[in-house]
C-alpha cells in the first residue's frame, strides 16, 4: 500500500540525517527474501551456520593459498557480515548455547 512507503519517504531521510550528524549509523540485518514470513527462526540459525561455514571456508582457503603467512580465517572481513546478522537476529542465550555446543563438539548443525 502506498501510505507506508510515503511515510518512509519523508521519514527515512530524517533517520539517516540524524544518524549521520552523530557519526552513528543505525544498521541491522536486512530483509532476507529467503525468509519472507513471520517465522524467522531459520534466518537466525542459518546466519549462525553461514558465519561458521564461512570462517571454516576462509580458514581453509587461507591454508591452501597462504600456507606460509599467519593470517587467521576469523579476521576475514566478509564473514563478519553473518556474525552481525546472527547477533541481530538470535537471542543471546541461543548463541551462547550453540557456542558451548561447538566447543564441546556436540553442535548438531553441519558446518
Amino acid at each position: 500500500m502506498t501510505h507506508v512507503s510515503l511515510y518512509q519517504i519523508h521519514s527515512m531521510p530524517t533517520a539517516i540525517m540524524a544518524s549521520k550528524s552523530s557519526d552513528y549509523k543505525l544498521e541491522t540485518a536486512p530483509f532476507d527474501p529467503r525468509f519472507p514470513n513471520t517465522n524467522q527462526t531459520k534466518y537466525c540459525y542459518q546466519s549462525f551456520l553461514d558465519f561458521h561455514r564461512c570462517t571454516k571456508y576462509c580458514y581453509q582457503s587461507f591454508l591452501d593459498f597462504h600456507r606460509c603467512t599467519k593470517i587467521k580465517g576469523e579476521s576475514y572481513e566478509p564473514c563478519h557480515y553473518f556474525k552481525r546478522v546472527f547477533s541481530s537476529m538470535c537471542p543471546n542465550s541461543w548463541v551462547e548455547k550453540w557456542n558451548d555446543q561447538l566447543e564441546d563438539g556436540t553442535f548438531a548443525g553441519n558446518i
Partner: protein, 221 residues
C-alpha cells in the same frame, strides 16, 4: 464516560491508522445491512400482502446471492490487503529482540553494542499494573524489526495503539515490523495466558526521536 473508553486507541503507527479506518468502514457496511434487513423485516411483518403462491423465482435467488457476494468482497479485499501489509518489513534500521519469561520481559539490542535488560512491573500508583522499571526505547519514524521469542511458555507481546500483537513462542523467532510516527509512552500487557503472574508482566515502549535514541545507545559505550 468519554468516547476513548469504548472506541479504539488513537493510532501511533500508520498500520493502526489503517486498521481503525478499516474498522470504521466495515462497521458502516454492517450497520447499513442491519438497517436495511430490519427495515424489510418490519415492513413484511406489518403489511397484508402474502406471496403464498410463489414456489420458485430464479431471478430473486440470483440477486440475493450476488449482492452479498459483492458486499463481502468489499470487506475481504481491504482486509487481506491490511493483513499482508502488517507482515511487510521494509529495510529495517533496527532490530529489537523481545524475550518473554515467567513473568517478565527482557529486551536485547545487538546491532551496535550488546544491550540487554529485563523489564519487570514496578509498583507505581500512577498506572497500576502497567508501569515497568525499565521501559523499551524505540526511535520514532524508523522501521524497526521486532523479534519475539520465549524462554519458557507462550507469551504475547502487545502494544494496542501501534496495532502490534505477536506471540512469543519458545524455540521460534517471530518477526513483526514496527513503525511509530508518534513519540510518547505506550503501554501493553502480556496477551497469552502464561501462568500465575500473567497479569503482572506489562510492556512499556518509549517512542523517542532518533537523536535521543542514539544518545541512549551511546550511554552503553
Amino acid at each position: 464516560m468519554d468516547w476513548m473508553k469504548i472506541s479504539l486507541y488513537d493510532n501511533a503507527s500508520p498500520i493502526m491508522e489503517q486498521l481503525i479506518l478499516f474498522h470504521d468502514y466495515s462497521m458502516l457496511i454492517i450497520s447499513t445491512i442491519l438497517s436495511v434487513v430490519s427495515f424489510f423485516m418490519i415492513k413484511m411483518m406489518s403489511n397484508k400482502f402474502i406471496s403464498s403462491k410463489i414456489l420458485e423465482n430464479q431471478m430473486i435467488e440470483l440477486i440475493w446471492t450476488l449482492i452479498p457476494t459483492i458486499i463481502l468482497s468489499f470487506i475481504a479485499l481491504p482486509s487481506l490487503h491490511l493483513l499482508y501489509l502488517m507482515d511487510e518489513l521494509n529495510n529495517p534500521l533496527l532490530t529489537v529482540k523481545i524475550i518473554g519469561h515467567q513473568w517478565y520481559w527482557s529486551y536485547e539490542y545487538n546491532d551496535f553494542n550488546s544491550i540487554e535488560f529485563d523489564s519487570y512491573m514496578s509498583s507505581s500508583s500512577t498506572f497500576r499494573l502497567l508501569e515497568v522499571d525499565n521501559s523499551t526505547p524505540i526511535p520514532s519514524n524508523c522501521q524497526t524489526r521486532l523479534i519475539t521469542t520465549s524462554s519458557d511458555v507462550l507469551h504475547s507481546w502487545t502494544i494496542p495503539p501501534m496495532g502490534i500483537k505477536m506471540d512469543a513462542t519458545p524455540g521460534r523467532l517471530n518477526q513483526i515490523s514496527l513503525f511509530s510516527n508518534r513519540t510518547g509512552k505506550f503501554f501493553g500487557q502480556c496477551s497469552e495466558i502464561c501462568g500465575a503472574n500473567h497479569s503482572f508482566m506489562p510492556i512499556v515502549v518509549d517512542v523517542i526521536p532518533i537523536t535521543y535514541f542514539i544518545s541512549w545507545i551511546k550511554t552503553f559505550n
